[in-house]
Symmetry: C3
Subunit: 470 residues, 3 copies
Amino acid sequence: MEIGKKKMAIYAIVLEIVFIVLIGVLGEYESSARPVDPTPADMSLYPYFQDVHVMIFIGFGFLMTFLKRYGFAAVSVNMLIAAFVLQWAFIVRGVIHHILHGEAKFPIHLGEMLSADFASATVLISFGAVLGKASPIQLLVMALIEVVFAQINEYIGLDKFGAVDIGESMYIHAFGAYFGLAVARVLHNDKYEEAKGEGSVYHSDIFSMIGTVFLWLFWPSFNGGAGTGDEQHRALINTYLSLCACTVVAFAFSQLVESKGRFNMVHVQNATLAGGVALGTSANMPLQPWAAMLIGTIAGIISVLGYQYLTPFLNSKLKIHDTCGVNNLHGMPGLLAGIVGAVAAGMASQATWGESLYEIFPMMVPPHNTSAFANVTLQYPAITEPGIGRDAMTQGGFQMLALVLTVVFAIVTGALTGCLLRLPCFDNVYGSRMFDDREFFIVEGQGYPCNDEEDHMSDGDPKMRMLDDA
Amino acid sequence: MEIGKKKMAIYAIVLEIVFIVLIGVLGEYESSARPVDPTPADMSLYPYFQDVHVMIFIGFGFLMTFLKRYGFAAVSVNMLIAAFVLQWAFIVRGVIHHILHGEAKFPIHLGEMLSADFASATVLISFGAVLGKASPIQLLVMALIEVVFAQINEYIGLDKFGAVDIGESMYIHAFGAYFGLAVARVLHNDKYEEAKGEGSVYHSDIFSMIGTVFLWLFWPSFNGGAGTGDEQHRALINTYLSLCACTVVAFAFSQLVESKGRFNMVHVQNATLAGGVALGTSANMPLQPWAAMLIGTIAGIISVLGYQYLTPFLNSKLKIHDTCGVNNLHGMPGLLAGIVGAVAAGMASQATWGESLYEIFPMMVPPHNTSAFANVTLQYPAITEPGIGRDAMTQGGFQMLALVLTVVFAIVTGALTGCLLRLPCFDNVYGSRMFDDREFFIVEGQGYPCNDEEDHMSDGDPKMRMLDDA
Amino acid sequence: MEIGKKKMAIYAIVLEIVFIVLIGVLGEYESSARPVDPTPADMSLYPYFQDVHVMIFIGFGFLMTFLKRYGFAAVSVNMLIAAFVLQWAFIVRGVIHHILHGEAKFPIHLGEMLSADFASATVLISFGAVLGKASPIQLLVMALIEVVFAQINEYIGLDKFGAVDIGESMYIHAFGAYFGLAVARVLHNDKYEEAKGEGSVYHSDIFSMIGTVFLWLFWPSFNGGAGTGDEQHRALINTYLSLCACTVVAFAFSQLVESKGRFNMVHVQNATLAGGVALGTSANMPLQPWAAMLIGTIAGIISVLGYQYLTPFLNSKLKIHDTCGVNNLHGMPGLLAGIVGAVAAGMASQATWGESLYEIFPMMVPPHNTSAFANVTLQYPAITEPGIGRDAMTQGGFQMLALVLTVVFAIVTGALTGCLLRLPCFDNVYGSRMFDDREFFIVEGQGYPCNDEEDHMSDGDPKMRMLDDA
């Protein structure tokens, strides 16, 4: 057995043993899952969890199958990374939120399963930036590191700054995108133009639509799953309307930017989803339906223009090659989400938001032992925890601060991670070996679209070909 | 920028602005989604909604990918139309059910999200009739018009005639099918035989099965989502059993009608679903399980025979070219559903139906201030709204009347819409440009099955080919 | 009409009539689905049911599309068998559990819909063993027989032995696998090497991943759907963690066993799921999260090693040709599940399991009119039914006995069924007609990967081809 080719296996097995030991030592069923003296189990989250679960494995996995020669890796390595991160996220989140707070064990329950799925989304977005250009061992190392930084960032933003983000457009989408782009920048090398496989074939673009549509359908669950009551109801409505508006506008702009007025499948597969990201921070806020639609509209426009003009620019001028265009689907829409959230927070008032003001922004609840707190608890019996009496503008400022921190932290930690991944031991993928499943998978069947000479035989003939003779 | 090729973009952007303004002016969160003084939000509908949502976007979208050269358009334009209609349906339904009744605003909530999804199904069924033969701009114009007529028809049938239709087999399936067929008839031209793309390739038939199976799986949610309690339970059971019986019989008849006893994928993809349509009007009625199975059986037979014999006849003799065979999947099974509903209503009695009689047929509740009404409310406390004391035969008659109205109204309004769509400004698609993604999508990758000469090289050799050399 | 080619149609129609008559005579809506005097309907099971429903039709159906020339049959015949079995399972289960106990009618309700779906899984697993080698009529005959034996086995194991199996890894997975392998052994003939179609093409392996991922995602619902409260919560957590660990290890071992360290899609498609099977008997038991992960790890290793070494051995030495490798995905992991369940039962105690001891093992509840029973009911008011006061070791012994019975009964009844299926009237499929959709489906489109000579033209050239010229 040659160790060199099987590094990932050794790494994965060692880490899996570490995961089992750490969860054995530090983790335990939450009380509602314990057999003795359980609190009642509330399983009402489960359908939302399953929708998000489908988004992670089917949504992200199939969305990335658009590459003609990288379908095996897209859906399979997506599954590997996610299964790896789900376990690691339990541990990292448990340490940050429980062990470091002096608890002996962290609890494992359905809510944490949802949080772990969210955490895996961060890494899968970064995967989209380096798709076809990184080896499985590089990806699993990146996953190990990124989850830690992403969870620290979320902890600072959410727990310390009190910057809320129900659909995690800042803490997941923006973080994952800019972390991934930083990694992609550092991994960049001059042999990119030798890669032959970075296109789609007809059926790979249809496979990709399986991912797109499931992401589109279940995005309301992503943005609303963690809420309850009227908050959740609004999150579902807002996300649904935002996505609808985004989709119509994305098709329109896809036609506008092409000389012959034809739709571009890249836009259909990706830009139609930007409305879900752009609403992620503010989905549960009482924005009004028209505002959700407007935000979706803006996201759709930004995303199409990004794919059309910004991605080629970043690649050619800044050497940032973004395979899936995560900047256009997760990065810029994530920034938009953060800004919308900050503006909405800055304009929030008890008069128009009522109880939701304090439910959504716990830091805005007046402090303990004040008459203001007594008034709030009297008016809204559901509010029982005191806050720090933050005003709206300050809350808006902290929302903005969390967004800026997220982007800076993602870029810095992503760049450092990229430097680590360049170490020769991690098997960087170069040149013609990029975007090619044969590098990591047994591909012995027929039907692999790989005849390179023929790729260049295009003579203006409208006939296109999947596979060709020598 | 050449306006001519980008009409759809202009149209879509203008309409999107109109949608945002109208929803801004006329729409508002329903009280359970409002932050101030909310009624409790009941989210128990959400899993049913999501099942139907999957049916609309994955189900309809992938079902139509069977065409070898029209997969991009099938799943993408399906998504565009649906996202467009979802917003428009909120407005049209809000105006009909609220604004015209003197309310200042119409409420937006989860139940309306489900209704909007239902409304989009109507248009997507019509899309199936003209698949490959209409331009995106034609389809969006058709969508704008059809939703208005379909909602008016439903309002008359449901609110005025009191003709119930829990799975909307009359108001959606039959309406959408006959509207679409009328459009298809008017758009028909003599260049159809020049179209080369109206077949499937091996993998496009498998893509189509993704749509079929998800439609099949979630049809109980379609027929039962709007119900509650025992009504809903029956709707799920009846639809499940009807689909099972329909599937077995559809396979059997597919084998029977072919000389060599081979199954036909067209039947597998479509006729297996007819049992869901055929139960749509009566799903919540206490039919007994065997009756649901019998109705599914009949639907499966009708649908296979329709695909085998009626569709070619309609095309060659009546110039009604029905790309997806919506007459066989939605039209005739929709008629069957309406007839079953009318017969069941005509035979209904309080003795066997109990409280369900009045829950299912609100018009059969006795009128206000009668002793009969007092008796009913005493016996069934859940019944609180008086009706008009309609008897069973009359209810059956109105069910039948609603069915007839639906078909007539669909054909007339569909034909008028078709005439409008023939205007040159709407870019009719002719001849060899039909059934071809290259007309509206950038298709630059390999693998597009398009070598026309080779299509004719079949020499009885069993070898078939996906892509060919020049 | 030539009867010979249409036997399946006759058989299916006759059986469908029998099903309708039997359900008409023996079946009725359960009270919560009846219109008169209903008990309240509890629909909380429905999302779990739908997850399992997706597993049966999408999961199993698409998982089997990996064969390059058998995609139509995989997903379509899967659907036919399942729709056939769902109805038959209502009847068989109703007779065993109600009619033979003296009731006049068996009840039809949502819970039975879930049980019917479970029952169909048994047959579909056996289908995996004979995929491509049996005709539709053979499969429907096998389905008719297998459901009866599988339900008898489950009745003996569950009701008589009291051997629990919440995710039915013994009664479904192990039974289905060994029944199917016995059928495959008996059907084996010497013309297997003539079959040309038993490989995959690039896109068929991606289609297969649709099935894999949906099975993976919804397996927690499969193992936990039938539970409630803390039991259900544990089942979801345990299955989720087991699958994650299994997936990481399956990828690692897939790389380890290949000389060049490349992943094998067969392992990705199948071995990643073994963790769900291996937890099936004990999912609701308080194993601790780390133990669930350890069991998943072991299952992943066993499954990869099975695909790599055992399947070729069974085929070449024992003439057991296992098309989908059900022994590695369902058989051995099912045995592991049964053993884990027996060991866990043998170690169970009231001290650590509390109320769950009696909820999970009803036979361990003390007998009626004993002080022990009085104590238990006092301590755990939810326990109301007396048991037989079985101790833990005895329960473990009965769990083991049920596992042994299942395997023996499956092999014996499978072999007998195989002998019946060899009768010439059932159209055995031989030699080059195996693994070929053209045998049972109209395949007239392009894109069928069938040029046999070209299959052998591989000259070491990395270029592979989907379709070829003559």
